[in-house]
């Protein structure tokens, strides 16, 4: 038996709004309960959203890290209810409204949730999104040419790649080569692995390719003997062959003696060629060569040994440009260490030119700047009283300058 009060409780739970119907029921019978349930069913169909929107067609194609954000297409639905989307893993993707931003590779579930609308209830549907990792770019054709120790800085040709990622270069051996941007500067002989690193871009990940840079030693050319019998080492630097030591002949090419002017007051008044040893000390000349005035450099008897000549300013400029074309590159033609230079400025002497600080003799006959300055005459006069010379000084800088022809400077020759 079902008590009237029991029926009321049951109906209240089912539908509070049907209470008024129950209250008018007077009979205790199963018939009245049955009638009541039919009424309730009819009432609910009229007033609540019970229909399924029948969501379908929510599929997702695989994507790749690096792809741009993409828009989710709403599933097919009978309802006009608004959709929202949720991801099962926010570390892989984020969703704002229907815009998906890919963060990393993996698999996640995207749930499309449709709000209730009209007679359709709220419902959802899921789809699996597979996010593939970035592709490895195809890097090919990375070639670094073999180099000589004396070769000037050169530009690397980047490898071919199907990615647009930025490429940077690195050398694993700074003693052989250093790289700034794509410019390689040779520092020594040996091998360096040059690696082109490509950064990730779009669907392509970061990758690298390496090539060997082999730097062989400078070409030390044949020796040279002057008219006094002094033997000099020589070196090929670019297109030129230079003496590796300062000239120390006391005779012109034709055997004519060059006056050795020692007197302080005599030096500056010479109108013909003259030479001296620093501080009139012959031991100095064995190391640093003699100092000559420009009248000896420009002399009909010829100061340079047979087959060689004193370089003009233009020929010196070829060397200057070869080492980098800036005054700061003097260290490439400067002897390393402090055996002769007062300070170690990190000179590489990469060319093997081996510039030594032979100092100078001033117009007043005094000697100056040994250990601090190398000065070499050029064969180029600038005016009646002056000629050009190159000054390599203790800071590792090299500059062209001009001075009176009666000063005493060192001399280097180049092969004709």
């Amino acid at each position: 038996m079902v008590e009237e009060i029991d029926v009321i409780i049951l109906i209240t739970l089912l539908n509070y709004r049907s209470l008024h119907l129950i209250k008018i029921m007077k009979k205790r019978s199963y018939i009245s309960i049955f009638v009541l349930l039919i009424c309730l069913t009819g009432c609910q169909k009229e007033e609540t959203q019970v229909q399924s929107p029948e969501l379908s067609d929510f599929t997702l194609t695989a994507v790749r890290v690096g792809q741009p954000s993409f828009t989710l297409i709403n599933p097919k639905s009978k309802s006009s209810g608004a959709f929202t989307f949720k991801t099962s893993d926010t570390s892989l993707i984020t969703i704002q409204a229907n815009l998906v931003t890919i963060k990393k590779s993996g698999t996640c579930i995207i749930t499309a949730i449709q709000q209730a609308a009209e007679s359709f209830r709220k419902d959802s549907i899921t789809a699996t999104l597979v996010i593939a990792p970035r592709l490895v770019p195809l890097l090919t054709d990375f070639v670094v040419p073999e180099k000589k120790l004396n070769d000037p800085p050169f530009i690397l040709t980047p490898p071919k790649s199907n990615s647009n990622g930025e490429i940077i270069f690195k050398s694993d051996n700074a003693a052989v080569a250093t790289i700034i941007g794509n410019l390689v500067t040779i520092k020594g002989s040996g091998k360096a692995i040059i690696t082109a690193y490509q950064s990730q871009s779009g669907i392509y990940g970061a990758h690298s390719i390496s090539a060997n840079l082999v730097v062989t030693d400078a070409v030390v050319a044949e020796t040279l003997t002057d008219v006094d019998g002094n033997i000099y080492k020589t070196v090929k630097i670019g297109s030129q062959t230079w003496m590796m030591e300062n000239l120390r002949t006391t005779h012109y090419r034709d055997g004519t003696a060059i006056p050795n002017v020692k007197g302080t007051s005599d030096w500056g008044i010479q109108s013909n060629g003259a030479y001296c040893s620093y501080n009139n000390n012959l031991d100095m000349s064995k190391l640093y060569g003699y100092l000559y005035n420009w009248h000896a450099v420009n002399n009909a008897h010829q100061l340079a040994p047979q087959g060689w000549h004193i370089p003009t300013s233009a020929e010196w400029t070829i060397l200057y440009n070869y080492i980098g074309g800036d005054r700061y590159f003097g260290g490439k033609i400067q002897e390393s260490g402090t055996s002769h230079w007062i300070n170690d400025t990190g000179a590489s002497n990469i060319t093997k030119f081996t510039g030594l600080p032979g100092g100078k003799r001033n117009g007043d006959g005094t000697y100056d700047s040994i250990f601090y300055d190398a000065n070499w005459w050029t064969a180029t006069a600038n005016s009646t009283g002056t000629a050009s010379y190159y000054n390599l000084y203790v800071k590792g800088y090299i500059e062209i300058a001009e001075s009176s022809k009666n000063l005493g400077y060192s001399v280097r020759c180049i092969k004709d």
Partner: protein
């Protein structure tokens, strides 16, 4: 080492530093503005800039020497000599300003240098660009050379 840092050598360098202001004054006293505006080398400084550069450099040197004596191997403060030489007054001001500055500066610097004992010249400072310890003896020689180096730019240029 190519040079011996004994008292005799130090005295020579001090005397060269002492003589420099007078030498620069003498070398430049008859130069016209046009001559002072000549460069000593292609793309180099004008003689005016050279004259102004010398006290710029040596005022830094003076401070470094004082620091090396009063501190324990200090790391000195470098300066950008190229940028200093490009400031407006370094390019255009009358050289008298720098000759007077150099004269006073060297008076004081030399007075200080002369009070130092030979062993004091083994005190050091660190130049961060070179990242090594430099002795005052070595740097005294460098600054003596530096003065002559720039004096030669002036004297060589005006003999053209």
């Amino acid at each position: 080492m190519p040079a011996v840092f004994d008292q005799k050598q130090i005295d020579i360098w001090i005397s060269e530093i002492e003589a420099l202001p007078g030498q620069i004054k003498k070398a430049t006293e008859n130069l016209t503005d046009e001559e002072l505006n000549q460069v000593y080398r292609p793309e180099g400084w004008t003689l005016r800039q050279v004259v102004h550069h010398v006290p710029d450099s040596h005022i830094n040197a003076y401070i470094r020497f004082k620091q090396a004596i009063t501190e324990d191997i200090p790391v000195i403060r470098p300066y950008y000599e190229e940028r200093w030489a490009e400031t407006e007054e370094a390019k255009n001001a009358e050289i008298k300003l720098s000759i007077e500055l150099l004269t006073g500066l060297h008076h004081r610097w030399v007075a200080f240098l002369k009070t130092l004992k030979v062993e004091d010249y083994q005190r050091k400072y660190i130049h961060p660009a070179q990242n090594k310890e430099l002795t005052l003896a070595n740097m005294l020689g460098m600054y003596a050379w530096h003065g002559k180096h720039h004096l030669a730019h002036i004297t060589n240029t005006i003999t053209k």
